[in-house]
Subunit: 335 residues, 2 copies
């Protein structure tokens, strides 16, 4: 091992990605290398919780400790990515996928628990977009939309080579574009949000509806024989195993992904869509290829406009946590 590589074993920043179902933490070296990594389940909180976000903040501290690098108390900056709308003070205003933490004042909660030099709280999809733009599939591009398909759908926008955060920092809440006003209820309180169709939760819904109707035998077998227990990953697994029924559901999912991308193309006209998140990482081309086919049919201007790339995120499930670390690194004076 060279001296340079040894130097790159030191943590330059820690990133923690708080998801609807799991937390993911990692330490990044100055050279962008992941030098420690850990995961935990997102705590389920009573509703309404006594202190919104307290359980999440405890879990973030446990993740930081779990990295085994003793960064708390040092000047290693910590970035935390959170799903939902954060106001300029880091207070979570709205979060359909983290309902127990709405109203959480994360900067205060974390300051009570961590004595690190600095930490930053940022929207998780903005983190993922920064990571892909700095180190991944959006590198060097001026106009890119990074979509994170997980429990819900997140979006991070790059416009003119810079993150586009919006007037209040709420831009890129693309999962809550309504694509059918009479569609299924969304935890955000409305009906027919894009993430009811094109997320992990959407895939599970599509698959359960088919399974309860007697279809998808292999997927139901993976779910232990109970159609009601079918989850998105059962469909991904069956599709990767070549099950034709599961592949059909993945094509349907791809159509819904493409449907939202076509709407985003109408508004934003990016060069490229980068698709990340756990769902995309698990399904890979089984999802992306039908998405591309449907997108060409759905986008305004069709094939007579220059093609917009649809590619997989290069950082995969790590994008959110890597981006949170990058945000922390680029905001060393934040508190």
């Amino acid at each position: 091992m060279s001296a340079g590589a040894a130097l790159d074993d030191q943590p330059a920043a820690v990133g923690v990605d708080v998801g609807g179902t799991k937390l993911h933490g990692l330490a990044l070296s100055a050279g962008g290398r992941v030098i420690a990594e850990t995961r935990a389940a997102t705590p389920v909180t009573a509703r309404p919780p006594t202190t919104p976000g307290a359980a999440i903040a405890d879990a973030v501290v446990a993740i930081v400790d779990g990295l085994g690098l003793a960064v708390d108390g040092t000047d290693v900056p910590i970035g935390v990515g959170v799903p939902g709308m954060l106001d300029r003070h880091g207070v979570l205003v709205c979060s359909p996928n983290l309902p127990g933490a709405v109203g959480a004042d994360f900067p205060s909660l974390l300051a009570e628990r961590l004595s690190t030099g600095s930490f930053v709280v940022e929207n998780d999809a903005n983190c993922a977009a920064l990571a892909e733009h700095t180190l991944g599939a959006a590198r060097g591009l001026d106009d890119v939309v990074v979509i994170t398909l997980g429990t819900g759908i997140g979006g991070g926008l790059v416009v003119g080579g810079r993150p586009m955060l919006g007037a209040q920092g709420f831009a890129g809440e693309v999962g809550h574009m309504v694509v059918d006003p009479s569609g299924p209820l969304c935890p955000c309180g409305r009906r027919g949000c894009w993430e009811r169709y094109a997320s992990g939760a959407g895939l599970a819904r599509l698959a359960r509806e088919a399974a309860i109707g007697g279809q998808l035998p292999e997927v139901v077998a993976l779910a232990g024989g109970d159609p009601e227990a079918v989850r998105g990953e059962h469909v991904s697994s069956a599709a990767l195993g070549g099950d034709l029924d599961a592949l059909h559901v993945m094509r349907e999912l791809g159509w819904w992904v493409a449907f939202g991308l076509a709407n985003l193309a109408a508004v934003l006209d990016p060069q490229r869509f980068v698709i990340g998140g756990g769902l995309a990482a698990g399904a890979g081309e089984y999802l992306l290829e039908p998405t591309r086919v449907a997108f060409d049919e759905l986008v305004e201007g069709g094939t007579s406009r220059p093609r917009i790339d649809i590619v997989a995120a290069e950082l995969g499930e790590r994008a959110g946590a890597v981006g949170a670390a990058l945000v922390a690194q680029s905001n060393p004076s934040a508190t």
Copy 2:
């Protein structure tokens, strides 16, 4: 009249706004004053036309001549705003509201007909946004969306104080966000585009459906007694006259306008929406007030996020033509 005012009577640029139903031309002084103005019906062309866009180009020249200022052959720049997607060379790639002109090479068509020093072709909604941002209701704001409600719906985006045109210049095609995949057919070839609901054409459809069902007697009377002949302006007129049925239809229209604005707020998070175009100019607060009420219900985060203003365009129906003139002025070397 002072010498300064006399000087401000000279045309600094000409703008022509090509709409789906009419053309609107004006000459702008260096001080931003409209010193001549004229209108004409948009020519109906055979499909497919021999030379796409030739009839439109002839009509643009007639509008320029009709201003009576003999600007052709001078160095007064001419800007032309066109609905639809223009590629970087000014060729119309896609235009649901100007179908006879798809494929038109406007720079070449106009160069054959005009010997002016320079002219520029730009998307009409981008023109309107520039006008409102320079002289109207978006003045001084960094993050604004200007929506033009006419035959269709156009959108012009300002991000970080600058026009956001997208990677290919196609950004802001907001009328073709699909808001219901099983909705009515759109001239763009898909179903359920926002402009099927929230434009002048959408208002006419809402009203005709009600009229054919035996409702809206006053509106039908304004249309000469024929429910099939009901147009959007009949509803606006009846609403302005206090007809409760017509006001109900305007509230329904306002809901659909708000629905699209809520989707745009999720993606873009602007400070303000500026609503212009002939439909908004005609209906005024009868449309905007129900739009604001519905928007507060529909936007993600509701009233717990900072309010996004929804205001009328200050330049009214002139925004497109004024903006086309401003584009021409700011691109003196364009051909």
